[in-house]
Amino acid sequence: MQIYLPIADIPVNVFLVLAMGLAVGFISGMFGVGGGFLMTPLLIFIGVQPAVAVASVTTHVAASSFSGAIAYWRRNAIDVTLALTLLAGGIVGSAAGVALFTWLRALDQLDLMIGLSYVTLLSVVGVLMVGESARAIIRSRQGKRAELRRPGSHVWFHGLPLKLRFKRSKVYVSAIPVLAIGFIIGFLGAVMGIGGGFLLVPMLIYLMRVPTATVIGTSMVLTFLTMVSATVLHAATNHLVDAVLALILMIGGVIGAQFGAHAGQRIRGEWLRLLLGLLVLAVGLRFAGQLVLRPDDLYSIRLIGGGP
C-alpha cells in the first residue's frame, strides 16, 4: 500500500516503512539505544532526502525514547538531576546543530557532513565497543570478574568547579564536563538525526563513573528531551519534519522496541555490547565506502526554492 508523504514529496510503501520501524525498534529495544543511526541511513536508502530523513527521525527517536523512559521511571532508575544538567548542555547543542545544519545545506555540503560525521563517529565508537566487549568476554572466559568502576580513580575534570551531587547515581563531580557531554549529544543529534544513546551511555559510564543501573534510564530521558527540542527546532527553522513519515516510523518503532527489550534480556551484557559494536562499525564502514568509492554519478541536483 503506497502512501504519499506530504513533506518528503514522495510516495512510499507503508508496510516497508513500518517494517523498517519494527526492525530498528527491535534493535533499539535490545541494546537500549534510540536507533536513529540506523534509521536515518535506511530512509536515505529508500529515497527520502537526507535533510528530511534527519529531521523526521528525531521525532521517531523522541517517541521510542519516551516510552523507554517511562518504563525506567517506574523502576525508579532515573537520575533527574543528572538528566537535567545534561539537558541544559543538550539544548544549546541542539540549537547549534540545527544552525550548522541550515548553513551546510545552503553550502551544498550537508550530505558530505552527514556522511563524514557518520563515518568518523560510528567507526570510532564501533572499534572502541568491539575492543572493550571482546576484552570483557576474554576476561570472563578466564574466570576473572570485569571491573567497570574502580573506586578512587579520579580524572582531572572531575575536580573542576561547580561541583554537583548527583544523588541517585552516587557521584559528586563538576557540572562542567556533564554540560559539555550534553552539548555534544545535542549537537550530534541535530546534525545527524541520532539520539546519541550509544555515545552517551559509554561516556557516562567510563568518564563520569555513573553506575550502570541509572545510566540507561537517564540517557533515555536525555535522548527524549533533546529529540523533542530538535524536532521543534527543525520544524520551526527548516520545515522538514514529515509528520506522516514520523508517525509510521514511531508506530513500528515502539512495537519493535518491546520485543527487542525482551530479547535483549536473554543475552549477556558483553555479548550484547559486542553485537552493538559490530553493528555500529558496519554502518560506519558502509558510509565510508560511499565517501571513498567513486560515486555512480558525479552530478546531483538540488532545488533552490522551498524544497531540499
Binding site: 521525532t59 519516551f66 529529540m227 520545515h239 567513486r294 560515486p295 552530478y299 538540488r302 533552490i304
Partner: protein
C-alpha cells in the same frame, strides 16, 4: 471591432487564393484540468486529445504532425559536481540554472527531425535540446548548449521521469483526430502546467493552441504542508506531542509490571 477584423480576414481569405494560414484550426483539450494529490497518489496519466478543423476554404494539406510540449512550474536548480578531495568525493563545483521547467515532456507524432527542419526546431524551441535552460555564470545569465552541467541536469531529470521526449506519443486516430498520453510520475512538483500543441504540415507550423492543468495537494496533505511551512513552531510542537503520545500509549499497552 474584433468582429469587423474577422470579417475582413475572411473576405481577404476569399480574395487571395489560396491563403494557407487560415486553412486549419487546431482544437485540443485534456481529460482533466486538476490533478489532486491525496494520500494514495502514485502519479497519474492525463490524455490530451484534439482535432484539426479544416475550414474547407484553403487547400487541405497533410499529412499532419503534432508536437505537444508539457511544461511544469519553473524553479531554480543547482547542479553539483563531485570531485575527489583528499581521497573522498565532495561537491566541489556547482551551477545554478535560472527557472528551468521542473517538468518537460515533448510528445510528437513522429521524430522531430522528420517533422520539421533543425532551423525551425531551434526557432520554435522544440524538443529538450532546443529548450532554453539559462544558467548563472559569474553573475551573468547565459546559455551554453553543450555545457556538461546542462547535459547532467537534463540526464538526471530524464532519469527521474521529469524530462522526456517521445517521438511516437501522439497518435492520429483519423487523419485529423489525435490523442496523446501525458504520464506524470509521483515526484512531479505541484503547480501549474502548460500544454502547448503545435500543428505541422510539410515541415511548416500551421496552427497552435494551448491548454493547461494544475497539480494540487488537497485535504490532509495540503493541511500538513501549510502547517509545516507557515506555522513551523506550532507544527513542531504538535509533532512532538504526537511523539510523546505514541510513546506513552506504547508504554501503557506493553506494561508488564
Amino acid at each position: 471591432m474584433r468582429y469587423a477584423l474577422a470579417v475582413a480576414l475572411v473576405v481577404a481569405g476569399f480574395l487571395a487564393d489560396p491563403v494557407p494560414a487560415a486553412a486549419e484550426r487546431l482544437v485540443a483539450s485534456l481529460t482533466n484540468h486538476r490533478v489532486m494529490i491525496t494520500s494514495n497518489y502514485t502519479g497519474v496519466e492525463l490524455v490530451l486529445f484534439g482535432t484539426v478543423e479544416r475550414d474547407g476554404v484553403g487547400v487541405a494539406r497533410g499529412p499532419y504532425d503534432i508536437v505537444a510540449t508539457v511544461i511544469g512550474p519553473r524553479d531554480s536548480l543547482r547542479t553539483r559536481r563531485k570531485q575527489r578531495v583528499l581521497g573522498i568525493w565532495v561537491n566541489t563545483s556547482a551551477r545554478t540554472f535560472i527557472d528551468p521547467p521542473s517538468y518537460l515532456a515533448v510528445l510528437a507524432s513522429r521524430p522531430l527531425d522528420a517533422i520539421t527542419s533543425a532551423d525551425n526546431q531551434r526557432r520554435l524551441q522544440l524538443g529538450i535540446a532546443d529548450t532554453p535552460l539559462p544558467e548563472l555564470i559569474n553573475n551573468d545569465i547565459g546559455e551554453v548548449s553543450n555545457d556538461p552541467f546542462r547535459v547532467a541536469l537534463v540526464r538526471l531529470l530524464r532519469e527521474r521521469g521529469l524530462y522526456s521526449e517521445e517521438p511516437n506519443a501522439v497518435t492520429f486516430l483519423t487523419p485529423t483526430l489525435f490523442r496523446a498520453a501525458i504520464s506524470l510520475p509521483a515526484q512531479v512538483p505541484i503547480g501549474n502546467y502548460i500544454v502547448d500543441v503545435k500543428l505541422f504540415a510539410d515541415g511548416n507550423l500551421i496552427a497552435h493552441t494551448d491548454s493547461a492543468f494544475e497539480i494540487v495537494k488537497v485535504g490532509f496533505e495540503q493541511f500538513v504542508v501549510d502547517a509545516a511551512r507557515e506555522h513551523g513552531l506550532l507544527y513542531g510542537l504538535a509533532t512532538a506531542m504526537m511523539a510523546l503520545l505514541t510513546g506513552w500509549i506504547a508504554s501503557v499497552a506493553f506494561r508488564r509490571d
